[in-house]
Symmetry: C2
Subunit: 115 residues, 2 copies
Amino acid sequence: MLIETTMEMENAASILKLLGDQTRLTMVKMLESHDYCVCEFVAVFHASQPAISQHLRKLKDAGIVKETRKGQWMIYALNPNSPYFTLVQHILQHVPDQDYRIKELEEQGLRVSCD
Amino acid sequence: MLIETTMEMENAASILKLLGDQTRLTMVKMLESHDYCVCEFVAVFHASQPAISQHLRKLKDAGIVKETRKGQWMIYALNPNSPYFTLVQHILQHVPDQDYRIKELEEQGLRVSCD
DNA sequence: AGATTATATAATAATTTACTTATATATAAT
DNA sequence: ATTATATATAAGTAAATTATTATATAATCT
């Protein structure tokens, strides 16, 4: 309900709000290392598939991630062409590494062969 | 309702969520230049005093800002001792300068003499 | 073609958020 | 002391958010 702020400020705030969610922030941090399909996120977060899909949709709508179909799978990746890419990168510097999650998946044999 | 994230991740996400609000993000950007009292924020944002107070409370609870009483006024400042200070600084680099707001206040004679 | 797998979307419910209005507290001024 | 000013807090409400369940779509496999 706020009027007295610039357009750019609005955009910056909306990016921060998007990343101000544990699930989405973790996803984006994971995508810093490499790409993932939806079902891998579902396995990592023990979350429902629609919940994951909806988070990815928001990230995609904001242009932070991009999607590519690969057979049955949708592969998500960071979008380096986003005007907020460097902001995202700076933020991720302060976020704990999530590579252990993938190792867990692989050890449990839950890593799908979508790549 | 998410389990599978680290504690640090939770903290990082909550800081981003806090800054993911136009009013609070603008406040914090303003505080990068210098300190302000509550009534100046009220004048800048054309918002109600309780609304401003509540935003400042959240920033204070998160340790991002600190307050000092100066007579009748409460002066708010960035807290350089916050463990998230450098994160906040990095984020603010991507946020448009807000110094024009103060100039507006001064020109309109609305700048209170709380400092 | 029919069944299976991966994903998206729609509708809905629960929770959270950010206001509002009303009131309390604390300092300053008369 | 009383009044005024600055700020905080409490209670209530409307809007936004995030999950769930059910269903649709799209590619693959038999």
